[in-house]
């Protein structure tokens, strides 16, 4: 074999602490190495051309580049050698930067280590073999999990691009949290006015199939070929017949049903449509409150429904959809503030959350858009807003900032001042985070034009005094305690991962952090991709953010999906397991141990059973290789011989110094 070795200087990143020339010189001594050199920036165009020229000139059959981490440029170099006519797997990259030059300032030690690393790579290369991928067709359909604003945006963009979209939403209507808001910052746009048209688009777009009141049950397969089990939960109403007329809601006698849409401020009927602009506008029966389902009385809805849509005997149903890519846009929940005993532990009716305030102020909310105290229905004169409840709080395990509360408090204070003449609004804050376009100006407007009193300091305790609440806070700028006689207190509760986020992540095989937010591939450069091929993220499920950013991520995920689908096939990765049938003893241990279910039995002509790898499912983890007793199954490009070659040559190396 004829091997060429290229040592990259990477400017001063490597050259400052490694003597690249010496490493190159040493490389020439190794068996099969016919050419070795060092170069300033190997990944640059001239650098790549240098490699390609050397391949031609010296008739090289394999190339070693010693440079940065393969995670940076392995793909680049593989492509480069392929262009010069080599198989891309006849290339090895030694990491002499992250693993060497960046660790120590000791040039001598680093150079010795670099020499060892290059030696190992050369030896491995001698055992490499050309590998070839196969082409697999892509199913150009995309699944969007979550019907909030980012899911809606992603679905619309994909549909616009001619793709088939399947959308699955857990609630009985799409719209997510944005549907519950009254107005949005910083424009004070009416939330349902800007969201509504998009929701209707989703419903009417012929490329989008919407499964509302449904959840993901199972996910199998791989990028380009996913098989998803969707559980359509029983609504007890035939949605093909239901017209959303709402007669059932008017007549239903079970009026004490928990109203999740109105954040528990109100009750609703057991059969209900969550809000007038719901998409799909279909009724659903809550079995926990329905009189017929609990005690077999009533059935009024069934009697009066003009299209006979009620189906008390409905069961959950599972359907299977096949898609090529998945966009996860599952949104968030709010932090539960009942952990704060000092704020009443959720027991004071006039201490409400930011979302509850949105419902109060919303015209389709429980009080018709009037801000009234939940305890006695009176209009509040003094309203206190408290920031950072459940955010920036290591003592409850949530040290992060939720990013949206400073803005929504300003908005809510402005709305309060609009709704109630002469009301006093106080905001207790620690810092103001207003980074977006027109955000700072918006917060200033609240203080300058709307007379909202901003007090810098936290609140230690809220306690009732007669009919009102006393809010005991601090003004740290002045150094004095401030007590407010409040009629209503709004806690700006922080953002938490959506309920069930972790379970869904396990099904999709994507990672999540300690708070349940899904992990992106790279925090700076790849915010909408995951480390699982074919699964993308959008919106708050990836981390707290506002509506503009959620929409942007929805579009970004759609763009990634379209890029994925821009070809008709995808290449499989040949760095997967492969079985040598002559050595396989048919013990089945590899089948047991494979986490992806990618190994199956194969019966040969003589009746013996052997293991067979499904090359489209195998993820190349190598567990089977490690488990196999006769070592019949080998992970290509990472075979036992290749790895042992590296180890042997390292251990047999000259004793330095």
């Amino acid at each position: 074999m004829r091997i060429g070795v290229f040592i990259c200087k990477c400017g001063t990143n490597i050259a400052a602490t490694v003597d690249t020339e010496a490493v190159a010189r040493k490389a020439l001594e190794y068996p099969d190495v016919v050419y070795a050199t060092d170069y300033m920036y190997t990944c640059s165009e001239p650098g790549q051309q240098e490699i390609q020229q050397a391949i031609e000139e010296y008739d090289l059959q394999g190339v070693v580049v010693a440079a940065c981490s393969p995670r940076m440029h392995e793909v680049t170099f593989r492509r480069a050698v392929e262009k010069a006519g080599l198989n891309r797997y006849m290339f090895e990259q030694a990491n002499i930067r992250e693993h060497c030059s960046w660790i120590s300032k000791d040039t001598e030690a680093n150079t010795r280590k670099a020499i060892d690393l290059v030696r190992m790579s050369v030896e491995k290369l001698r055992f490499n073999e050309p590998l070839f991928s196969s082409q697999v067709p892509i199913n150009k359909r995309v699944l969007v999990i979550g019907g909030g604003i980012s899911g809606i945006q992603a679905a619309l963009d994909c549909a616009e691009g001619g793709l088939d979209v399947v959308m699955v939403e857990r609630e009985s209507t799409i719209g997510g949290k944005m549907a519950k808001l009254d107005k949005t910052f910083p424009t004070i746009d009416c939330s349902s006015c800007i969201l509504g048209p998009k929701m209707v688009d989703v419903a009417q777009n012929e490329n989008i199939r919407l499964y509302a009141y449904s959840e993901i049950e199972s996910v199998s397969g791989y990028m380009g070929n996913f098989k998803v089990g969707i559980r359509k939960k029983a609504t007890y109403v035939d949605w093909d017949a239901c017209t959303g007329c709402g007669l059932c809601m008017e007549k239903c006698p079970a009026k004490k049903s928990f109203d999740g849409f109105n954040e528990g401020l109100d009750t609703t009927t057991a059969i209900n449509i969550p809000f007038p602009q719901a998409i799909p506008k279909r009724a659903r029966i809550d079995p926990k409150y329905c009189w017929y389902m609990i005690k077999e009385k009533c059935r009024i809805c069934q009697k009066i429904c003009p299209v006979d849509a009620i189906r008390f005997d409905m069961k959950h149903e599972t359907v299977v959809e096949e898609v090529g890519a998945i966009i996860v846009a599952t949104g968030f929940d709010l932090v539960d503030h009942s952990v704060y005993g000092e704020y009443g532990a959720g027991q004071y009716p006039d201490v409400i959350t930011g979302m509850q305030f949105e419902r109060l102020v919303n015209a389709s909310g429980p009080y018709g858009g009037h801000i009234l105290r939940p305890s006695d229905g009176k209009e509040p004169k003094n309203i206190v807003f408290i920031a950072c409840v459940g955010s920036r709080d290591p003592s409850i395990g949530r040290p992060y900032c939720s990013g949206i509360c400073c803005m929504y408090i300003a908005k809510q204070a402005i709305l309060a001042r609009d709704h109630i003449q002469d009301c006093n609004c106080y905001v207790f804050y620690i810092d103001i985070r207003a980074p977006g376009k027109n955000y700072e100006e918006f917060v200033r407007r609240a203080q300058e034009d709307y007379g909202v009193q901003y007090i810098r300091g936290r609140v230690g305790k809220i306690y009732p005094e007669g009919e009102r609440l006393v809010v005991q806070g601090m003004d740290t700028l002045l150094g004095t305690q401030v007590e407010v006689d409040a009629d209503l207190v709004v806690l700006a509760t922080g953002v938490a991962a959506s309920a069930g986020a972790k379970d869904l992540a396990e099904k999709l095989r994507i990672s999540y952090d300690e708070y349940g937010f899904y992990m992106e591939s790279h925090p700076k450069l790849r915010p909408v991709e995951t480390n699982t091929a074919g699964v993308f993220l959008a919106g708050v499920c990836q981390g707290p953010k506002d509506i503009p950013a959620s929409v942007a991520q929805g579009s970004a995920a759609a763009a990634k999906t379209q890029a994925l689908f821009s070809r008709d096939t995808i290449e499989t990765d040949p760095q997967i397991a492969s079985v040598n049938e002559r050595m396989c003893i048919g013990c089945g241990k590899c089948i047991d141990v494979c986490p992806f279910g990618s190994i199956q039995w194969k019966t040969l002509r003589d009746g013996s059973q052997k293991a067979e790898v499904l090359d489209t499912v195998c993820q190349g983890c190598g567990l089977c290789n490690a488990t196999c007793p006769p070592k019949a199954i080998q992970l290509q490009h990472c075979t036992d011989d290749q790895i042992l070659a590296e180890i042997d040559v390292l251990c047999a190396g000259e004793r330095h110094g």
Binding site: R392, P394, G460
Partner: protein, 193 residues
């Protein structure tokens, strides 16, 4: 109150002081992001010269004089409201306690009558092994030159037999005074090192 008016860095920041407070209290003062929750919860803020969050800020800026000469640390009742409510898990009450004994070491106690009361309390314990309340009050009144302290309560207190006239001396008095002695030795040794 030692006012802090204009700082020049790094000259005016006593890094050793910050380190000393952190070591003795076992709390990381840099964790404090000045939210003010402690001061909001502190019932004694109204008599402090510096509210407790500002004491924390002064420590962060290495203002040893202002902190150790403050009235706040001696009016603190150790009621634990601040520690209970701090979102950054800082045991602020323990920091205040540390500041108290640092100010005793530096002899910068700001409220003399409180120090006097505590000294007489400790003396009583040293001698009798327990606090002889009658004696404590009498000595305090004398030394603080406030002979009429609590005199309004005296008749009822005596009538109900709540104040013994004779102190109870425990048998293990020597054990207690030995503890004091060993403590003093330890303190002296620490100051010399």
């Amino acid at each position: 109150m030692t006012l802090v008016n204009g700082l020049r860095m790094p000259r005016d920041c006593d890094d050793n002081f910050i380190h000393q407070v952190e070591t003795e209290s076992r709390q990381q003062i840099s964790k404090c992001y000045q939210c003010g929750n402690c001061s909001a919860s502190c019932a004694y803020t109204y008599v402090y010269d510096y509210p407790v969050n500002q004491i924390m800020r002064l420590i962060q800026l290495g203002q040893k004089e202002a902190v150790l000469r403050s009235r706040s640390i001696w009016l603190c009742a150790d009621c634990q409201a601040c520690t209970t409510r701090c979102p950054c898990n800082i045991d602020i009450a323990r920091v205040m306690e540390t500041l108290r004994f640092l100010s005793v070491e530096e002899d910068t106690v700001s409220i003399k009558n409180i120090q006097l009361f505590y000294d007489e309390f400790i003396n009583s314990v040293k001698i009798f092994g327990r606090v002889f309340e009658t004696g404590l009050l009498a000595k305090y009144n004398l030394k603080a030159k406030k002979p009429f302290t609590d005199i309004d309560l005296a008749p009822k207190v005596l009538k109900k037999g709540k104040l013994p006239i004779i102190p109870h001396r425990i048998r293990g008095r020597k054990q207690v005074s030995d503890i004091f002695k060993r403590f003093e030795d330890y303190r002296n040794k620490k100051n010399i090192d």
